[in-house]
């Protein structure tokens, strides 16, 4: 565990070793997942007390989005490579899990041509979720290793191509996905309690990954690829680990979503979904776990507010053609403004911590790189 050997120049030295940490320092360093987790549980509790079904739906989806945006953060935030594929892996997880959780009768009705070995399978919900995540991770593990060599424009185009390939396959593999048509007959298993529980758990995972040795090395490679590889960091391997973990989380979240929404088509896992996840992460701040959570909550509130305006205008027939796309326009404009004025997002790469840093120099800001990636 000689972590100091791995520090590239420019990345902050870790503070005192674990044994020398005061309780206050320890709390300062590790409080983020507990604070955010407690906040999410609080939101879930209040929602449950309100008992309004519309609010509950919104908050339930928000927690699924939290997992998806965390999945995006695990790869994009730590590696600095723009990733479009999260929506695709979400789709793989959704279809992958549903194939195991649907009853044989429902499968016979919705997917009459399904392969014989899958048709009679009927597994419990939690096992199906896990399988959804694992299938997505497996696909990522098989296809992504060579792609991890690429960064910048080449990296973006290949990962974008991956999203398109996944979508084409989902749309045309009718035997398993019912093609471009809506797949129906999924039982609802996902409720508010399920999603908040998994969201808190994956928050822990994303935090753990960011602070782990792999995460630290990956962040070092994001801040300066040449310096990182010169001290022996295998950038491709680090990116690969993050990508597969990200795919697992996205697949798992897709599985949760599928069992909440219960009928869906492949177009739910494409560019418009990806735009929302990206907006959430970038507005919140891609370089930290706090940014992912804060951005998801903010964008959810904003979207629901705008959408209700949109619906009210459309219901009252205030405009002859209706008000379509208004929410996305505002969101896109906000995204551009944030990128211009505050490219690190609202959180700017810092994490929510308590208590504030102690007086000792070297213990501020926590371990590892914090700020935005350097401007090129």
């Amino acid at each position: 565990m000689r972590q100091t050997d791995l520090q590239p120049p420019g990345v902050r030295q870790p503070g005192p070793r674990r044994a020398e940490l005061t309780p206050r320092d320890w709390l300062h360093r590790n409080s983020t997942p507990f604070l955010l987790g407690a906040g999410m549980l609080l939101v879930a509790g209040v929602t449950w007390l309100i008992g309004e079904s519309l609010v509950e739906r919104i908050v339930t989806v928000m927690f699924i989005d939290v997992i998806l945006v965390l999945a995006l953060q695990v790869f994009m935030g730590n590696s600095g490579i723009l990733s479009f594929s999260v929506a695709g892996f979400m789709g793989i997880g959704a279809y992958g899990s549903v194939l195991f959780s649907m009853t044989p009768a429902a499968k016979a009705a919705a997917l009459p041509d399904l392969y014989a070995f899958l048709a009679p399978v009927h597994l419990p919900f939690v096992v199906s979720l896990l399988l959804g995540g694992l299938i997505a991770a497996l696909v990522a593990a098989v296809v992504s290793y060579p792609l991890m060599r690429l960064s910048d424009a080449a990296g973006v185009i290949t990962i974008f191509s991956l999203l398109i390939i996944i979508n084409v396959v989902l749309v045309h593999w009718s035997v398993v996905t019912n093609g471009p048509r809506t797949l129906f007959g999924v039982d609802r298993y996902t409720y508010l309690g399920t999603t908040v529980g998994f969201a808190v758990a994956f928050l822990g995972v994303a935090w753990w990954f960011k602070e782990s040795r792999v995460g630290l090395r990956l962040r070092a490679s994001r801040d300066d690829a040449h310096a990182a590889s010169s001290i022996g960091i295998n950038i491709v391997a680090m990116r690969y680990a993050a990508f597969v973990l990200s795919a697992f989380m996205a697949g798992f979240a897709g599985a949760l979503w599928a069992h909440f929404i219960t009928s869906f088509s492949p177009y739910a896992f494409y560019l418009s979904a990806m735009f929302v996840f990206l907006a959430m992460l970038v507005i919140g701040g891609p370089n930290g776990v706090s940014g992912a959570v804060v951005g998801t909550v903010l964008v959810t509130v904003l979207r629901e507010g705008l959408r209700s305006i949109e619906n009210n205008v459309n219901m009252a027939h205030l405009l002859p053609g209706g008000l379509f796309g208004f929410t996305e326009i505002v969101l896109a404009a906000l995204l551009i403004v944030i990128l211009i004025l505050r490219p690190g997002g609202i959180m700017g790469g810092t994490e929510i911590r308590w208590p504030p840093a102690g007086g000792k120099p070297g213990s501020t800001g926590g371990p590892g790189g914090t700020g935005e990636s350097p401007r090129v």
Partner: protein, 297 residues
């Protein structure tokens, strides 16, 4: 199989794709920006035709020129309003900006016009065919080839003979050096976006000409075509983009004839697998451009 009709159709597809790819690379070369909003320029061109058809009756050619003008203006505006302020930020910031601009324009069309398809006026020539060597060939395809070749020749003159064009090529080759020699960066980048808009606008005429209608999401397909063609031809060279467009158009037509129907559905997936393989094994594409230079900013 390989008839004159097939050749002309493949060439017309290739010409359209060549213009598309060139419009994308001309911006990429300078800013290293993969412009996700590029497809929306085609949508804007299409909608301009639709809006113009509502007004006083103009000859189609005038409407077409105006529509191309609107695409140029939009392209220039996106650079001025969205891309210029984030130019000195990270590449990722610029890519996300272009994705946001794309979403914004698409939804603006949804909001201002309609989610439903709108009919676009076309000259009668577009639906007529001519009999060549005993085979009927649509005029539209011949026009696409002729227009593209003329436009490409004009661009060659612009890029090789005028000071601005030479500055643009120099900037695409080594932007930092060009700036040091006193070429104003903003002017060059604006020009690149304007040319990009011009090419997209001309492609829009032929793209909406196929179905005679325009929808808010019509830009997605040409954007993907531009991706594939530029990667095949080489992201760093303008000639490569043109060649990549023709190769893609011809290969795509051939696949359409040769591939069995069951696999034809997955045609797009195959094209993107080719893209990934090219980027992995021959990232410079068919034509190797200049030395890799850092992006502008």
């Amino acid at each position: 199989m390989i008839t004159l009709e097939f050749i002309i159709n493949a060439l017309s597809l290739g010409s359209t794709y060549a213009l598309l790819a060139l419009g994308m690379v001309i911006v990429y070369g300078i800013l290293k920006l993969v412009n996700f909003a590029y497809g929306e320029l085609i949508m804007i061109g299409g909608y301009s035709l639709f809006v113009l058809s509502l007004g006083p009756r103009l000859p189609w050619f005038v409407m077409a020129v105006l529509a191309v003008g609107v695409a140029v203006l939009t392209s220039w505006l996106t650079e001025r309003v969205a891309f210029r302020p984030v130019r000195d930020k990270s590449l990722t910031a610029m890519l996300i900006t272009s994705f946001a601009v794309s979403t914004l324009l698409q939804n603006a069309a949804l909001l201002i016009i309609s989610p439903r398809a709108r009919a676009v006026p076309l000259p009668s020539l577009f639906s007529e065919s001519v009999v060549l060597l005993g085979q009927s060939v649509p005029w539209r395809n011949i026009l696409a080839i002729v227009t593209s070749v003329v436009l490409l020749l004009l661009l060659v003159v612009l890029l090789r003979r005028t000071v601005l064009g030479i500055a643009l090529r120099a900037a695409a080759d080594n932007f930092r050096m060009t700036r040091m020699l006193g070429i104003p960066a903003n002017l060059v980048i604006s020009l690149a976006f304007a040319i990009s808009g011009l090419l997209a606008g001309v492609v829009a005429l032929f793209w909406v000409g196929r179905t005679a209608s325009v929808t808010p999401t019509i830009g997605a397909a040409p954007l993907l075509v531009a991706f594939v063609a530029t990667v095949i031809g080489g992201m760093r060279s303008l000639e490569g983009a043109v060649l990549g467009g023709y190769v893609y158009g011809i290969v795509f037509s051939l696949i359409g004839v040769l591939l069995p129907q069951a696999l034809l559905e997955f045609r797009e997936a195959f094209m993107f697998i080719i893209v990934i393989l090219i980027i992995l094994f021959r990232p410079e594409g068919l034509i190797r451009g200049g030395a890799p230079s850092r992006r502008a900013g």
